[in-house]
Symmetry: C2
Subunit: 373 residues, 2 copies
């Protein structure tokens, strides 16, 4: 399949929404975007290498408004979530985030969101790129449950990078840096309370601020930018190279509704012993017992820097299909091409050598024992 | 809100899929794309005016693979569809397409698809830009219905423009041009049968070929291109100016799940007298009785050509909110700016003059009695 034309422009459309931070994003010199949950997701500001090195040494503001919230509340809220999240909802702790795949009744992954427990009858499901709200609404309508389901006007702004704590405490006060990983609480800024979690789609540490009310977006963006001059704060985005190194998955790219959680390497986030109400309990138990037939793996790819991976690249061994690469990039820190791939069981052991079909060449791919941490 | 930076590039991602026709699209010189149903949707090849004039005088091939099909089949298929399409499913005729809004139990529009009735227990729901499959799956799971729901490997290729019939009969034979509007049937090409409908997202006439099996896409693309040299066949796409002139709506842009079908001007596609099973029957009857509070309207906007409408533009009358423009463009054929807007009831009468807030100016907008046909 032909590669994406590198000059391709993105058409404007009200169908693809901008964010509350958009004026700041444009001022900061955004170069490219993707589309995610019907919104623009900025993806690059400076060169890919500059964005990457800056993230790993400084602190960045990311417009990740496209991580939309599905607010689920009411008497049957926990019961409803129990039907498609394969773990106990009741034992979740208020004020904490949980990464759990959402599954249909066959155990196929519909999305890999974070769940934020706001109260025993109130949750935010912070979604990856699919309209999970439609599944939740449909299931609830079919069962006639007593629950309110809507997308609030809440737009996450991520503060990521090793200097993120220093920036955050200047704006939200010293209490904010006491948050534990995946904890959240409310912190004051400019006479308003903001829900802040210690979380984010990088391994560099950071926070996500759930900005409630689009009209408040730019005040916060500017305050964070202004407070961090000496920290070299700058704009950034979920970083492709950093996330491939770390093995942070992209729903719709690396994994999809064709996969079960075990194939995605997400088995550790399931708790089937406390998921009696889950519609997929029996299928998931069967898959766990039999073991998955393929699984997400970290790869190295030989040779010079690979191009962007638009359509998945075929992996083979002696001509036999061995899997597919879904994300690949040159790693400046590790001086090699790194990749995320869905690899078939006979080929997934560490050190297995495979052949990968790049758009205009073939190269050697080696299965690694794990991702870079 | 700031306008979309005109230079914005689209990042490649396997999360945003290419189509079976992609090599042809790139060869034909695609300039820009949007993202629709997690796929690339080509939006421009030559200048906007050249694309527009060519569509209105010749014949174009459109890669509209992003119009995905949700295949619903099985014993309970018609019953399931009856729950969220406010009309009779049973009385639909096999071999015909139906444009009907899909609604939730409150009567809010979830998508505005075409339904293709393949058999009394088998339907394709050809969707606009939202994951309607998740609503259908959720509703079915909640009710425990006996139905199969999946997205087949089917990618529509549209042939649009006044010369489309002449091109189609050269490839599919003389029978294909006997199709009536919104009829479909199977026609042979290259030893395979293709489902072809007389339909498409333009008012210039044309067909949609539902290519079953991605591996067949380029053979058909090339055959149509080769057969139409003397007809000046060329690449094209759903044309922004032509669709705004004609009032063809864009779900997620002009209308959304905040709207009911009457607000969208889609009341004529409902048949509440034969929609007893529809979950939204009572809310829709109430809205019909009370009348909607706002409605889609055609507008003219004074002055020189307006820029692209990224974020909706506010309409007002003496300072009062009067609605919002969601799509606007210079019409070369009509020598004026034309627009689609959701206009509040007190202001929706034809000839009402309103003020519209463009990104960098204000202009006069006049409500028209209807769209250009």
């Amino acid at each position: 399949m032909a590669n994406l034309a590198p000059f391709l422009k993105l058409s404007p459309s009200p169908r693809v929404r901008t964010s509350p931070f958009w004026p700041g994003v444009v001022d900061a010199g955004v170069v490219s975007c993707s589309v995610y949950n019907h919104m623009l997701l900025p993806t690059q500001y400076r060169s890919p290498e500059e964005d990457y090195r800056h993230l790993k040494t400084r602190v960045q503001l990311w417009d990740v408004s496209c991580e939309r919230q599905v607010a689920v509340s009411g008497r049957d809220a926990a019961d409803l979530l129990s039907l498609f999240f394969p773990r106990s909802i009741e034992t979740m702790v208020t004020g904490r985030c949980y990464y759990v795949p959402a599954v249909d009744q066959f155990g196929r992954v519909l999305n890999d969101p974070l769940i934020l427990k706001l109260a025993s009858d109130s949750y935010w499901v912070s979604i990856a790129d699919s309209d999970l709200i439609l599944w939740i609404k449909g299931l609830s309508a079919g069962l006639g449950l007593d629950v309110d389901i809507h997308e609030p006007d809440v737009s996450p702004l991520a503060v990521q990078g090793p200097l993120s704590a220093r920036l955050m405490e200047r704006v939200f006060g010293p209490e904010v840096v006491r948050l534990r990983f995946f904890g959240f609480d409310r912190f004051g800024f400019d006479h308003r309370d903001y829900l802040v979690s210690r979380s984010g789609y990088s391994r560099q540490g950071g926070y996500e601020i759930y900005v409630d009310g689009s009209e408040n977006g730019m005040t916060l963006w500017r305050a964070l930018m202004d407070a961090g001059h000496d920290l070299d704060v700058g704009p950034g985005s979920p970083n492709y190279t950093e996330r491939v190194e770390a093995g942070l998955l992209s729903f719709g790219g690396d994994i999809s509704s064709k996969n079960n959680p075990y194939e995605c390497g997400l088995g550790k986030y399931l708790d089937l012993e406390n998921a009696d109400r889950c519609l997929a309990l029996e299928p998931l138990k069967r898959i766990r017992e039999q073991g998955p037939e393929r699984m997400i793996r970290s790869l190295s790819i030989s040779g010079p820097p690979v191009p962007n991976c638009q359509d998945p690249w075929r992996l083979s061994k002696n001509g036999e299909f061995a899997g597919k690469v879904t994300a690949a990039t040159w790693s400046w820190d590790h001086n090699q091409n790194v990749a995320i791939a869905m690899v078939e069981a006979p080929y997934w052991d560490a050190e297995t050598c495979l052949e990968v079909e790049l758009p205009d060449a073939t190269a050697e791919a080696t299965v690694r024992s794990g991702f870079f941490s």
